[in-house]
């Protein structure tokens, strides 16, 4: 049952909501997801990232606002909201305003198909994975437009670098996602998770899937422009890249979308490779909804947060790649390997009749089915 119908059923006991049209409830779901989850998540992620950066570099990090600096992100958000919104005189005003909107649209539209728990997904699209690849590719356009509209050489260079980088890394990322879809036999994110029930996680299915998971993670890091692949906003070369000229809330939107996208790629990795809301050897299919849903959300979020923490760990320990090294890494390492993984997985599916290593071991030992 998709979420809007579930909500409709929940609200049907409440007189006020009985005659609400479906689009109103859907809109409510979307706004709720954005304001209750995405914005606070991005804020907390910024705080956590700064604390981790402090720990790694033997500093203290934010510690002034609130206990242990925990309210720093709220203070930052309020500061950015009330800051003056400066549009450079020579900038292309219309496009300057349009660019953050496009980026925000693309960043938040990706949340529509992320399955947090069995019924907790906004739209259960049949082509979920494909939709995600398509909708996240729009960010590139926003970044190019932002770089161009700023009328600033650093911004333009950042925008062009970013476009080249995202277009290149899209190929290994999409190939790895297709490999995972091949194993699950579906493009629907919920069905992909169902195919990985209990211990049959995608990453354990065969050796090629293990490599594909790592390639996906590396490529996705590059797609969201995070260190070691943050050449579009390399501070030492380009001031701040494509968002140099932005200030106030528009600047905040770039940051917000960056953290939202970090969550999105972690959620995709969790869904396709780490079994989504499943926990090894814990079968929740017969449990009641009240017990199942919180547990599934906890499992899903735990896996996502671990991946995000790894991302932050990587960011503060590794130096930045050079542009040519980056392109070389993509075209000469990741693309051939992801093709090999794709073909290898296809061959595995034919030879072993679609069974993964955990199932084969279980079959040998004579338990499970």
């Amino acid at each position: 049952m998709p979420l809007p119908e579930l909500l409709k059923e929940l609200f049907s006991t409440w007189p006020l909501f009985q005659h609400m049209p479906l689009w109103f409830l859907s809109l409510g779901c979307i706004l709720g997801l954005l304001f209750l989850f995405v914005f606070p998540f991005a804020g907390v992620a910024v705080y956590v990232e700064r604390k981790i950066a402090g720990d790694i570099q033997a500093r203290i990090g934010p510690n002034v606002v609130g206990p242990y600096g925990t309210l720093q992100w709220i203070a930052d958000a309020i500061k950015l909201l009330f800051k003056e919104d400066i549009i450079p005189k020579e900038a292309d005003k219309k496009l300057f305003i349009l660019a953050p909107a496009v980026i925000f649209m693309s960043g938040s539209a990706a949340f529509a198909v992320i399955p947090f728990a069995e019924h907790l997904v906004l739209t259960n699209l049949n082509i979920g994975v494909f939709y995600l690849i398509a909708i996240t590719s729009i960010v590139t356009m926003g970044i190019i437009v932002a770089g161009w509209a700023s009328n600033n050489k650093w911004s333009l260079l950042g925008g062009l670098r970013s476009a080249a980088q995202i277009i290149s890394f899209e190929i290994p990322v999409a190939l790895c996602l297709m490999t995972a879809c091949l194993v699950a036999g579906s493009l629907n994110l919920s069905e992909i998770i169902d195919a990985q029930a209990t211990f049959r996680w995608g990453i354990l299915h065969n050796p090629f899937m293990l490599i594909a998971a790592f390639i996906y993670y590396i490529g996705a890091l590059a797609e969201v422009n995070r260190t070691p692949f943050d050449i579009p906003e390399a501070e030492s070369e380009l001031v701040s890249g494509y968002n140099t000229e932005y200030s106030g809330m528009r600047f905040a939107i770039f940051f917000l979308v960056e953290y939202a996208e970090c969550f999105v790629i972690s959620a995709i990795a969790t869904t396709l490779f780490l079994g989504g809301w499943h926990f090894p050897f814990l079968d929740l299919s017969t449990a009641s909804l009240a017990l199942k849903m919180p547990l599934q959300i906890i499992f899903f979020m735990t896996k996502c947060i671990i991946l995000i923490l790894i991302m932050m760990w990587i960011r503060w320990t590794l130096p930045r790649y050079r542009v040519d090294q980056l392109m070389k890494l993509c075209w000469e390492v990741l693309v051939p390997f992801s093709f090999a993984c794709f073909l290898g997985t296809a061959a595995w599916m034919v030879i072993f009749g679609g069974k993964g290593i955990p199932e084969l071991i279980a079959g040998l030992l004579g338990f499970g089915s």
Partner: protein
Amino acid sequence: MKAYDVIFYLFALLTVLPAIFSAFHPNILYAALSLFISFFGVAGLYALLAADFVAAAQVLIYVGGILILLLFAVMLSKNIYGATFQEEKKKKIWPSLLGMLFLGVITKIAWTTHWSEALVDNLVQPTTARIGHQLLTDYLLPFELSSLLLLSAFIGAITLARSK
């Protein structure tokens, strides 16, 4: 007029208006960017026809790929701002004649085709399974031919990139 019709005309408007804008706007960057909305309108029309896979492919290929390359090309050309860009070489007769011819052919096809109205009533779900099946059975030859075309394009691109 049902809700379906309203949504159809909305998407049709979203497709046609930016397309007209992109054909007549003197600033080539704005012309390229208005295609962005037009492509989305087309994707919406596909989604309305229950072709979800084609809609996503439209966004992925046209917005995520072709439009980005278009923007690259636009940014590498000079004099983007100002009306000079399009008025340097004004050839009006042949393009308009060809355009009229193309419009005529499209209109002819639209009028003579027998449109199936029961398209949305009996949905095929999931569409991807059906598309894959059709591609590898009935339409195998066109599929292979297009992959051959893509392969030759790849080889051509690599040859161009290497000849330094």
